[in-house]
């Protein structure tokens, strides 16, 4: 056995398991690409309005999209917004949406689920009834209701989604904890007089966190889908904001071109659309690979 630190060895082993799966390689490659684009956005597409880089620059107001040219390599969309600029800065928007929703709802849901699953009793009962109520309405519909009540805007959409999505994490972590709670090593810790807080932190969460990670990875994608649909129907980002959903909305009236050239405006939808799909695909592939890698049945014997 090699002499590296055991934690390092574990990490290596985990990574080996993850990357044994081709879907993980594709997923992470895509993700690295998107991260690169997001980080380098100011270099790749220098903002025209320094105070608000997310505002897409536009030349003129003509409603007809223009095809890719030297000035705009991906063409322009309706209203002459530059597609290239929008796609680049839209990557940042996508990360912003995903990370915000997943981090907030994940932390909230995991905390709540851990406490309620570990202690059980009336607290758990009450919390479960509240989540039951939350479960009764589909995410998108509830998000729409909340956004209508709070007002439009991308920030409102993000808040609304975070307010809804925690229910998933509560459910996932709770079911994990219910099985872990009666495991012998948790009982052993209790015999040693370890406090409940430390038991949750040291024994339960590290063993329950993988399903949450898988969930979070899948959520990064699905939240971006939901948010872009909200933008598409006009509840999300305002016009001209660098957001993929918004750009698809701008393309909506041009999906069918003139009769002689029906696919003339393909770039207006294909480019932002491909961004959304690849972004979501990246996270889903990663989630899928994690699911395989962390499957307790397939892990070591």
């Amino acid at each position: 056995m090699d002499n590296t630190h055991p934690r390092l060895r574990e990490l290596k082993y985990t990574l080996y398991r993850i990357f044994r799966n081709p879907s993980a390689i594709i997923g992470f490659t895509l993700l690295v690409f998107f991260i690169g684009v997001a980080v380098l956005a100011p270099v790749l597409a220098p903002p025209k309005y320094a105070h608000n880089p997310y505002q897409m620059p536009h030349k003129g107001f003509s409603p007809t999209p223009k095809p890719p040219s030297e000035k705009a390599i991906f063409g322009t969309t309706s209203g002459q917004y530059d597609i290239y600029y929008g796609v680049v800065w839209g990557t940042r928007t996508a990360f912003k949406i995903g990370l915000f929703v997943v981090v907030i709802s994940g932390l909230f849901g995991v905390g709540l689920g851990a406490v309620s699953g570990y202690y059980g009793g009336w607290l758990d009962e009450a919390l479960m009834r509240v989540t039951d109520i939350m479960w009764a309405i589909p995410t998108l519909v509830l998000a729409m209701a909340i956004v209508v009540a709070f007002g439009r805007g991308l920030d409102k959409v993000m808040i609304a989604l975070a307010l809804i999505q925690w229910r998933w994490y509560v459910r996932v972590i709770r079911s994990e904890i219910l099985t872990l709670r009666d495991q012998d090593f948790v009982q052993a810790a209790r015999v040693m007089g370890v406090s409940d807080f430390k038991i949750i932190r040291r024994h339960i969460l590290p063993n329950a966190i993988y399903p949450v990670l898988i969930m979070a990875s899948m959520d990064m994608g699905s939240m971006v889908i939901t948010a872009s649909f909200m933008s598409f129907v006009g509840l999300g980002s305002p016009k001209g904001y660098a957001d993929w959903g918004q750009m698809v909305a701008l393309a909506r009236n041009y999906i069918v071109g003139p009769p002689d050239d029906p696919l003339r405006f393909w770039y207006t939808i294909a480019i932002p659309g491909a961004c959304i799909i690849l972004f979501v695909l990246a996270w889903n592939l990663i989630g899928d690979a994690l699911r395989d890698a962390f499957d307790p049945k397939l892990r070591r014997r």
Binding site: R20, L298, R300, R301
Partner: protein, 392 residues
């Protein structure tokens, strides 16, 4: 003694992510007609794999990769052996449950949770006794009314008649699958259920009709194990394989089941192949014993010889490691642990833990030598030849 089933150099490997698990490393054993053969060893030594390979029910990612399993199941010519590994899957399906059957370790998992007990036992009859049952149904139909009164009845009768001739008749198979039409088999099912109630009752379960209607979760562990035995016994097999059949049961229930097995051995089945890690069970029920270690059969002997004069160092150590009823002095323990079969030790797989290991033990696996009195052992204490050299 005539052999009933014999394995020759059986090799089974499991292709896992961690590597190739060499679970069976050339196992040769013989189960004779009318005996109880015990296969003992610690967990992971390959005893379950051995019997599953014999029945060809190794699950993914395992593969039987070498050797022969010769079965002498022909009632007319007991010398005529058939290599099961060469037969088609259909042949094996026909054989399993009819001539060889198996009971499993965990009665809670061995039964389908959403199928009634009666149906699960009845399946055995439906797989193997369709012909006889169809004939019985036909006879009953003829008794009830001389001639079938309506066309559907005539159709039904015709189908039963065809089943009684050949249960694999294409028309029977087709009509047995079509929705609604397949209801013609109702009487066959009822007949199978009647037989299952009978066999359940025979195993000493009170009120078998009611039990047949229950589901596995309604029964206690001991009862479930009886049902599993009923399934295995349904078609009166020649060989019953009991894979740790009593290990997960309580002492008093285990006593009941062992008693039942002993009784069945005298009345119903020819031979039992009993797999266990409990030397006590072996001593009490078996005639011959094989000791396995890390995928190898190290010693085979009659039960009294094995307990009184063990030859292989592993057998000796094992016998000294279990507490006896009249134990005086401390238990001898075997140092070290069972090796990982992905990367087994070269040579004799026991050599790292063997107190009598020699240089040659580290290099080659020893040949199996026959000492007197049906006692065979694979150890360099008794031979100088490694396996593969000079073997006839």
């Amino acid at each position: 003694m005539t052999p009933l089933i014999r394995t020759e150099n059986l090799v089974t490997n499991f292709y896992t992510y961690e590597g190739v698990v060499r679970a069976l490393n050339g196992v040769s054993l013989v189960v004779d007609h009318g005996t109880t053969f015990g296969l003992v060893g610690e967990s992971g030594c390959g005893k379950s794999v051995a019997v599953r390979s014999m029945m060809r029910i190794i699950q993914e990612p395992g593969r039987v990769e070498g050797g022969r399993v010769v079965a002498f199941f022909d009632p007319r010519d007991k010398r005529r052996g058939i290599d099961l590994l060469q037969q088609s899957e259909a042949y094996m399906e026909h054989l399993r449950g009819d001539q060889i059957s198996m009971i499993f370790q965990e009665p809670n998992a061995a039964l389908n949770p959403i199928m009634s007990i009666g149906d699960q036992v009845a399946e055995s009859f439906l797989f193997h006794k369709k012909k006889e049952m169809a004939a019985a149904v036909l006879a009953a139909m003829d008794r009830e009314n001389g001639r079938p009164p309506w066309p559907l009845g005539a159709f039904q009768r015709a189908l039963y008649a065809r089943t009684a001739v050949s249960p694999r008749d294409p028309l029977v198979a087709l009509t047995g699958r079509l929705p609604l039409v397949r209801r013609w088999q109702m009487r066959l099912r009822r007949e199978a259920l009647r037989r299952s109630v009978e066999i359940i009752g025979k195993l000493g379960i009170p009120n078998p009709e009611a039990v047949a209607r229950l589901y596995p979760h309604n029964l206690s562990g001991g009862m479930k194990q009886r049902i599993v035995i009923a399934i295995a016994l349904a078609c009166s097999p020649l060989l019953l394989i009991a894979d740790e059949a009593t290990s997960n049961l309580d002492v008093t229930i285990q006593a009941q089941i062992l008693d039942l097995l002993r009784h069945l051995k005298e009345t119903e089945i020819a031979s039992i192949l009993l797999i266990t890690h409990d030397l006590g069970v072996v001593a009490e029920t078996c005639d011959r014993v094989g000791v396995m270690y890390a995928g190898n059969l190290c010693e085979v002997a009659n039960v009294t010889d094995l307990f009184n004069a063990p030859r292989h160092p592993y057998t000796r150590a094992l016998l000294e490691a279990v507490p006896r009823l009249h134990q005086d002095g401390p238990l001898r323990s075997i140092e070290g642990a069972v090796p990982n079969l992905v990367n087994p030790p070269a040579g004799c797989r026991f050599h790292p833990r063997c107190p009598e290991a020699r240089a040659i033990c580290r290099k080659h696996f020893p040949e199996t030598v026959h000492l007197g009195g049906d006692h065979s052992v694979a150890c360099y204490l008794y031979t100088d030849r490694p396996r593969g050299e000079g073997a006839a």
